[in-house]
């Protein structure tokens, strides 16, 4: 439905249209969104636990985790609140390298990302493997600030950004695709921005 009188005014540049998923707009800043206050996690208190169901497989302290291979990823990111930001530059540990260090293959097809503040979000295992996702430790070469999820956040750039859990402290393999925090509150179980899967029931 055409909106009367809309479209003649300001409009974002269109030269990058192919990189902007439907319903998104290009943002130059880096907005902050979260369901609660920003946790301040000290690196000396930080740990990351890989789990199969309730059972821990391996746990890393900050220095141990930082000794794993670091990989650079520069990607466009897409927030469900409709902003897209180009070329965000991260460094971190690929989920592939975390599994390799733990000496396991993915034991199930689904995962839940776990955060210090109790936040959870579900991501299929295949969306984390083959270089598609990392536990990011640096943004633009510097430690990730608390507002943006530091010390460490998940980075799954091909899904809406609520899947890239902030203040990450674990990854749990689950038998079923278990909805996380926002997925239980009306957001899409998978969240592909190119299919505009914002809310539950979107195709």
């Amino acid at each position: 439905m055409v909106t009367r009188g809309f479209g003649s005014g300001r409009r974002p540049p269109t030269d990058h249209d192919a990189r902007i998923p439907p319903g998104q707009y290009l943002e130059q800043g880096f907005p902050v969104l979260s369901a609660g206050p920003t946790p301040r996690v000290r690196t000396e208190d930080w740990s990351f636990t890989l789990k199969h169901g309730p059972r821990p497989i391996k746990k890393w302290k900050w220095t141990e985790f930082n000794a794993l291979p670091l990989t650079r990823m520069t990607r466009d990111i897409h927030c469900v609140t409709a902003w897209t930001k180009f070329d965000t530059a991260w460094q971190g540990v690929l989920v592939d390298d975390i599994l390799a260090d733990a000496g396991i293959a993915p034991p199930t097809a689904y995962t839940l990302a776990l955060s210090f503040d109790g936040y959870t979000t579900n991501v299929p295992a295949k969306d984390l493997l083959d270089g598609k996702a990392m536990v990011a430790l640096l943004y633009e070469g510097k430690p990730i600030t608390p507002d943006h999820g530091g010390p460490a956040r998940l980075l799954v750039p091909h899904l809406y950004f609520w899947k890239s859990a902030k203040w990450l402290n674990g990854l749990q393999f689950t038998e079923r695709d278990e909805p996380g925090f926002w997925e239980l509150r009306g957001y899409h179980i998978y969240g592909d921005p190119w299919r505009e899967q914002r809310y539950s029931g979107d195709p």
Partner: protein, 248 residues
């Protein structure tokens, strides 16, 4: 807990039936829904504008009206100078126009009278909008849940819903309004003239008969960061603080 599902909230057209200027920068638009829904206080809608060539822009706006305002919702839209949607509403939109929206959306930043209280609401600027829905819902339900609203605005004339909030405050029915102006002296004896801080949060909590069971904080990112930290410094447990942020 509400489930905002697409099956329950498809795109619909809504007709602008009333426009009311709230402050120099904020105007309320009242939409009559073609597919009426009952939202929960704190929820938002997504609005979609479409140009003749198919170009679309969409934004989320919190609902200011109470769930009891069946069939019509109020969105209080702040004009952002470099925006593409808010200038359309402020300069072009007129009574009778049809706009596409979907909702209600959001299942976390919500409060219902049946949830009880006390609740502490903290809003900065247009961040007061979803909190206004809670305050109105509380009043319309004649809820006994004690509630305090700390509302930070730059100046007196930018206090959105000012007259209505002061009227509700004057009822002395368990709702307490605390205004703080960051660029002007306080206008009422009990108000403040500074940015929100822990001491202000402690004093706001003291107006409640017991510690709040939930706090809702909404505003710009900088405001929410500061206000949430002030609450934590005032010994509010972090897991009882719900936030909604906008802006960069």
């Amino acid at each position: 807990m509400s489930q905002a599902s697409a099956a329950q909230s498809p795109w619909q057209t809504a007709r602008i039936v009333r426009i009311e200027k709230r402050t120099p920068r904020v105007t309320s638009f009242f939409f009559k829904l073609s597919r009426p829904f009952v939202h929960q206080a704190g929820q938002h809608v997504d609005v979609r504008l479409t140009a003749p060539d198919g170009y679309q822009a969409r934004r989320s706006y919190s609902i200011a009206s109470a769930p009891e305002s069946r069939g019509t919702i109020e969105l209080a839209i702040e004009r952002l100078e470099d925006g593409e949607v808010s200038p359309f509403f402020h300069e072009v939109a007129a009574i009778g126009d049809e706009i596409e929206l979907r909702g209600p959306l959001g299942g976390h930043f919500i409060w219902s009278a049946s949830d009880g209280g006390p609740i502490l609401l903290v809003g900065g600027g247009s961040g007061v909008v979803p909190l206004m829905a809670m305050v109105r819902h509380r009043a319309l339900q004649k809820s006994a849940a004690p509630a305090a609203l700390v509302f930070s605005a730059r100046v007196w004339d930018e206090v959105i819903f000012r007259d209505e909030l002061i009227r509700l405050d004057d009822r002395r029915d368990g709702f307490d309004l605390v205004l703080t102006l960051t660029r002007e002296p306080a206008q009422r004896p009990s108000d403040y003239s500074r940015r929100v801080d822990a001491a202000m949060m402690v004093q706001a909590m003291e107006r409640l008969p017991k510690a709040p069971t939930l706090a809702f904080v909404c505003g710009s990112n900088a405001f929410v960061s500061a206000a949430a930290q002030a609450l934590i410094d005032a010994d509010m447990p972090a897991d009882l603080i719900r936030t909604e942020r906008y802006g960069v």
